[in-house]
Every structure is written in C-alpha cells, then in structure tokens.
C-alpha cells in the first residue's frame, strides 16, 4: 500500500513538473549567450563582472562560432539566445539565415584580436619562422624542392630540410582539429599566407578557386601534424614533456603559460600584445559578438552587458580583458566601435 501511494505521489509530482512548463517560450531574466570557444574566456569575465554589480549573471555556452550562429539565427523569442560570440566575421549565408528566420536587426561588435602562436617548450630552441617555412613544413602538397613548378607530397622530415637556418630536429606540430575555429584561422592565415609567397601557386587562385584552397589550406596527414583535440591546455602539457615538438594555439594560452612555453617569431615578428594589436604579427584574427536587437528590452540587461564589454575598463588598453589575453583594438576604432555598439546600430548585410 505504502509503495503504491508513493508511486502515485511521485507520478503526480512528475506530471506537475511537466505541466507547469508552458509549451511556448518562457520569460527569461538571464541573458543567454552562445558561440566561439575563443571568445568564451573573455565574455565570461565580462559576464561575471556584470553579474557582480547587482544583475543576473549571463549564461554563456561555448558552442563554437558556427554552432553559435546557427542557434542565434534560429529565430526571435526568449527560447533563442540573445548574443553570439564569434572568432570570425558572420558569413553572408549566416546573415541571410538570420534574416529568413526573422532575426532582422543584428548589431555587430568587433571586440579585439587574437593571435595564433606556434610555440615550444622553454627548454627547446627559440626559432624564427617565415610563413613560407610554415607552409612548407605543414602543407599536404608542396612545390617540388628541385624548384620546378609542380606539386609533390610533402617530403620534409626535419626543420632543417625546410630552411637550412632552422634546427636539425624532426618536424612535429601539435594543433587543433579541423572542427576548431583556431584551425580555420591557422590554415587561412599561416598556411595560405606561406602558399601565396609562391607566385605560380597564387596564380591558381584566379583560375580555379577551389583548387587553390585545396592546395593552400591543406595540412599534411602523414603524422607530422598531430591533432591534439580542442583542449589547448593539453597541447601546452605535451610541449612541456617534449621539447622537440611545437604547438599551435591561441595567444591567451601563451600569455598564461609564459614560464612553460615560448613562441616562435613569424616573419621576424614576435607575437606580443602590441604586435598583434597593430597587425604586424601576421597570424592574427578579429573577434566579434553579435547582438539580437529584438531581444533588447525583452530580456533585461542586454544593454548593460554590451556597455560593460565595450567600456574602457574592460576592453581598453589597461582593461581587465587585456589581462586575460585579449588584444585590444586601436584607440580610434575602439571609440567608434563602442559608440556603434551602445547605439545598437543594425547591420545591413552589405558590409559582409
């Protein structure tokens, strides 16, 4: 008897829990943010500070740039996120998806830069790479070393083979898998950057764009480039254990692990705060977030969060985001961007 009653009670409780949730969207008083795992460490700091000043702390999911866009563009209504972070600009196709789902007014905010570094253990040798070295060491097919204009499967085994000035150690690079935004940026900026230094490869671009991409954005698959998962900490740990290996990851991880790893110079430029911000360091990208204007006023605090993010004490030269490794925009750009963000200027779609 006893059990029967308990079972009925439990069943009723479960039914009640289900019924108390309306089928449609519920009002939400917490900002919901999705998107890039690269922007996540910065957005979370802003969210936390914002929450400490008497607001509900925004909830931030790390879904990746593409996943975030998909969620963000699903529609208007509190079951959809209010803001999405991205480690690249919104694509035209994503903007159109947003439009077709009724997400008409979107404000774009560029928040700063992130550099991608190639680093090794401090116990290893500090090296100076050119983009061409990176391309030759890591691309799947490279120009024939004898100088003829044909592609051969990457024959290079040691850094010295690539460039006589480099150490005579085997090439071993740990980096992110293809699902990562960091990998996309690395392929585009570093490998393609090196590819472009061969005029006859660059010429392919105007003839056959997809063939050009296949050559210039491919990474070798013969075990020299090791996909180490999305976890950059793991890469740092592995570098510490193996001083001969190099790793590819974001600047913020370099910044937090100064005593453990050192970054290689690329094209003679050391990846420093200043060099990435000024654009001198070639492997850097911009970080963004996008605000759904239709939710402003519906979900409380969105304006406040944007204001906190774009305040000088956050993203300024001496701001707390800088301490976390975000590289700030230039002074003028920052000022105009802050203005644009706070007035929630809508994108037209033309700028993409």
């Amino acid at each position: 008897m006893n059990f029967k009653m308990k079972a009925t009670l439990a069943g009723a409780a479960a039914a009640l829990a289900m019924a108390s949730v309306p089928g449609t969207a519920m009002a939400r008083d917490t900002i919901s943010i999705v998107g890039s795992s690269t922007v996540y460490p910065f957005a979370t700091v802003v969210a936390e500070r914002f929450g400490r000043t008497g607001n509900a702390t925004p909830k931030i999911e790390s879904t990746g740039s593409g996943g975030g866009m998909k969620l963000f563009c699903q529609g208007v209504g509190t079951q959809h996120p209010d803001i999405t972070n991205a480690s690249r600009r919104m694509k035209k196709s994503e903007f159109e998806l947003c439009q077709s789902n009724g997400v008409k007014d979107i404000t774009e905010v560029k928040v700063g830069y992130d550099g991608i570094v190639i680093a090794n253990s401090v116990k290893g040798e500090h090296i100076d790479l050119s983009l061409r070295d990176i391309f030759l060491a890591l691309a799947k097919d490279v120009p024939n070393p004898d100088g003829s204009e044909e592609l051969v499967a990457n024959p290079y085994k040691t850094w010295k083979d690539v460039n006589p000035a480099l150490p005579n150690t085997e090439i071993e690079v740990l980096g992110p898998p293809p699902t990562s935004g960091t990998r996309d940026a690395f392929n585009e900026l570093a490998i393609e950057g090196g590819c472009k230094t061969f005029p006859w490869l660059k010429a392919i671009k105007s003839e056959d764009k997809s063939k050009y991409k296949a050559i210039c954005r491919s990474v070798r698959e013969d075990g020299v480039y090791v996909e180490a998962g999305e976890n950059d900490n793991l890469i740092v740990q592995k570098l510490e254990k193996n001083p001969a290996a190099y790793g590819v990851f974001g600047y913020s991880f370099l910044d937090q692990n100064r005593g453990v790893v050192q970054a290689a110079n690329v094209d003679g430029v050391e990846p420093t705060f200043e060099a990435i911000g000024s654009g001198d360091y070639p492997v850097s990208r911009s970080l963004f977030f996008y605000v759904k204007k239709a939710h402003v006023g519906v979900v409380p605090g969105i304006e406040g969060y944007v204001k906190e993010f774009t305040s000088e004490k956050a993203w300024g030269d001496q701001g707390y985001l800088g301490e976390k490794g975000l590289i700030p925009l230039g002074d003028d750009l920052r000022k105009s961007m802050a203005k644009q963000a706070r007035s929630l200027k809508s994108m037209t779609g033309e700028e993409l």
Binding site: V21, T24, A47, T53, E61, Q256, G259, Y320
Partner: protein
C-alpha cells in the same frame, strides 16, 4: 598401472602448469586494474589537493567614504558601485610606499584578487558602521600569487609574476603577512573566471536537481515497466520485441539521447536550454533501461513459491505483486537504480547538446534555473587557460569521485542489508 592412470600421470604436470598460468593471468589482470586505479588517484590527488587551500594577504583597510564613493552603506545601489579596488589600492600603496610608476603600481595591485573587493562590499553591507573605520583584514590573494606561494623554490622561477612582484610577495611571506586557509569559496560559490573565486556549489546543486528529476521520473516508470513485463505481460513475439529493444536501448551511446532531448524536449515542447529539468529528462531516457533490466532481474529472483502461496491464500494477482513480490524485489531494484543514477551523475555528452555545458555563476534555486553539473564543470575548468584551474579541476574530480563512491557503497550496503536468500 592401468592405461588411464598412465595417461593421467603424463598430462598431470601440464595441467598443473596450465592452472598456475591461468591463476597468474588472473592476478596479473587484477594487478593492472589496481595499478591504473592507483595511478589515477595519485595523479588526481597530487594535482588537486592544493586547490582545497588558498592563500590570503593581510592588509590594513580603511573604509574611506570618499575613496569608496559611498555615502550611505544602506543604499544597495551605491554599495554595488563602490570603488572597493580603490581602497585596496591605497592599502597596498601604504604597505609598499616605495613603489612608483604606472606599470609598477599596476603590478602591485594585481597581487590581490578582484574578489577581495566584493568581500569588502559584503562586509560593509553587514556592518554599515565600518564606514570610515580601519581594520586589519585578510584578503584573498590573486591566483598567480597563490600558485607562487604554493610552488617549490625551483618552480617559483617559472611563475607568471614578474621579478618585482615576486619580491613583494616574498617580503609579505617573510613577515607573516600571508597565510594559507581552507578554500571555503570552493564549496560556497558557483563558477568564476578567477580561479581563486571559483566554486563547485553551483555544479553540485545542478547535479542534485538533475538527479532528483531523473530519479523521480525513471524509478517509478522503470519499476512499473519491469513489473508489467515480468508479472503481467503475455509471452509472445511482441513482448520479445520490446525486450530486445530495451536491451538495445541500454547500449545506445548517450549523445544520441542528448540529440533527442534537443530535438524533442527543447525543440518541440519549448522547454528552456541549460536547465536541470531538461537534463533530468534526457538522463531518464538513459537510465531507464538500466533500471528496467535490474528490476526485472530482482523480480525474477523472487521464488515462485511465494507467489503460489499468496495465490493459494486467495490474493489477487495485483495483491500478490504489491504485497509480496515488490517488497522482496525492492532492494535489488534500488541497487539498480542507484547504479543507474551514479552512471547518470558522471554523464556529460548528452548535456552538451541541451546547453548545460555553459558558464553559469549564479547558484540555481530549482530545476528550472540554468545550471551545469559536476562533470561538465570539470570539463570546463580543464579547458581554461589559467594554470590554477588544473588543480581546481582535479579537486572537483575528487568531489565527484567521493559522490560516486558514496552512492556505490550505499548500493552495496543496501543489497547486503536487505537482500534475502532462499
């Protein structure tokens, strides 16, 4: 000697050897298992034990109304926007009067956690009469200072602190102005991006709400299904089909349930993302097969004589089941449920799809508040750039393991205590 004895004698030594080998293999396998366990525990405890303690720095703090820009500490708004960092900055400047220049002052201010300011705010809220007073207080140190103080002499060279900062901290340490205390914030706060302020209470509460939802949904449904299938259902092709499917369901990768949750529970029913209610429903789907299978085994173990005796005394089928079979099978069912719950407690993959892998600072107050769970918190911390999070992640693993061990022990104790043998 007969032919058979001869034969036996010939092979006897070989058979003994085979037995010895077999035993050695068995001991070897157990040894490997134990070694893996020992390795796991030494690694986790070695990395995580330091996270249970944290360093504080002693500073004389003056609650100066002007610096704070707070005239009335009872006004919540004014209190929230007070310049607490300013008071700490002044105290540090007083302690190290020789520090000059923008860069150095900045470096000096980095020694104290940003969380210390909020602690001052809370003190002022508690006791408004502090305004204008000076108190010598222990303030939370920054995570880099904490790491530096915990590090050995040799490791200190690799510290993120610059040489000046190292000198200042060493000076504070030498004069007894630093101390190590139990890391209370670990058990009283939610997540944070500052390692020294991060806690697992939010994740523990999230896990708790998720588990309550899972238990409330999966146990009654699982037990009812098991009873029907064992006691009432006719044996035919259809019930065979159901049985095969339940067994299959137990082998489905959990991420699939997450996808289902995303499509149906969030997509179709419009429940919010990231809440324990949705997490609980998804984990229910995952736990149900385990509970049904173990409950059926428990019911099968009740001897038929008990049913026959009850029937003989005139009980209806329903009475037989509810009065006799169920109470006798309950310990087995509970064991199955606890093991199923322990499994669900350690699950992350399905929660990824429904948005519970998120940065959530505020403590959840119920199953409809956004929350994360313990294993997800571990994953998030292990993926954070700050070095101190590595220790925190290991500490959180220790807490999760403690929960799992408790639950499994409970299952064993229940079985030992309540189980009946015939």
């Amino acid at each position: 000697m007969s032919e058979t004895t001869e034969k036996v004698r010939k092979t006897l030594a070989r058979r003994y050897r085979a037995e010895k080998r077999f035993k050695a293999f068995g001991i070897g396998s157990i040894g490997i298992g134990l070694m893996a366990l020992v390795l796991l525990f030494t690694d986790i405890i070695g990395k995580g034990h330091s996270a249970f303690f944290e360093y504080e720095v002693q500073l004389p703090i003056t609650f100066d109304a002007e610096v704070l820009d707070v005239s009335d500490p009872r006004d919540e708004d004014e209190l929230n926007y007070g310049n607490y960092q300013g008071v700490i900055r002044d105290a540090l400047a007083e302690r190290f009067p020789t520090v000059e220049g923008r860069q150095d002052t900045r470096a000096l201010n980095q020694l104290v956690s940003t969380g210390a300011g909020y602690a001052l705010r809370d003190m002022l809220r508690e006791d408004p009469s502090l305004l204008g007073e000076t108190r010598t207080l222990w303030l939370l140190a920054d995570d880099d200072v904490d790491l530096f103080l915990k590090a050995s002499e040799k490791q200190r060279e690799d510290s993120r602190l610059n040489t000046k900062q190292q000198q200042w901290v060493a000076e504070l340490e030498a004069s007894g102005e630093t101390r190590m205390v139990f890391n209370q914030s670990l058990f009283s706060y939610g997540d944070s991006r500052e390692p020294e302020q991060a806690g697992i209470l939010g994740a523990i509460l999230g896990s708790l709400f998720t588990m309550i939802v899972t238990l409330v949904l999966s146990f009654p449904v699982g037990v009812a299904a098991a009873i029907y299938l064992e006691e009432f259902a006719p044996k035919n092709k259809f019930t065979d089909f159901i049985e095969v499917n339940i067994n299959n369901l137990a082998a489905v990768p959990s991420i699939i349930f997450g996808l289902l949750g995303l499509a149906v529970i969030i997509g179709l029913f419009g429940l919010p993302r990231s809440v324990p209610l949705v997490g609980g429903i998804v984990l229910t789907l995952m736990t149900l097969p385990t509970i049904i299978i173990s409950s059926r085994a428990a019911i099968k173990a009740v001897p038929p004589s008990i049913r026959q005796a009850a029937m003989g005394l005139g009980a209806s089928k329903m009475q037989v089941v509810l009065h006799h079979v169920l109470p006798l099978a309950l310990p087995g069912m509970l064991t199955g449920a606890i093991i199923g719950m322990a499994q669900a407690l350690g699950e992350t993959a399905p929660l990824l799809m429904i948005g519970m892998v998120a940065f959530i600072v505020d403590l959840p107050a119920g199953p409809l508040d956004a929350a994360t769970v313990l294993p997800v918190q571990i994953y998030l911390w292990a993926d954070s750039p700050e070095q101190s999070f590595e220790a925190l992640a290991s500490a959180a693993i220790m807490v999760l393991l403690a929960f799992l061990i408790t639950m499994n022990t409970l299952a064993v104790v229940l079985r030992k205590r309540l189980e009946r043998r015939w």
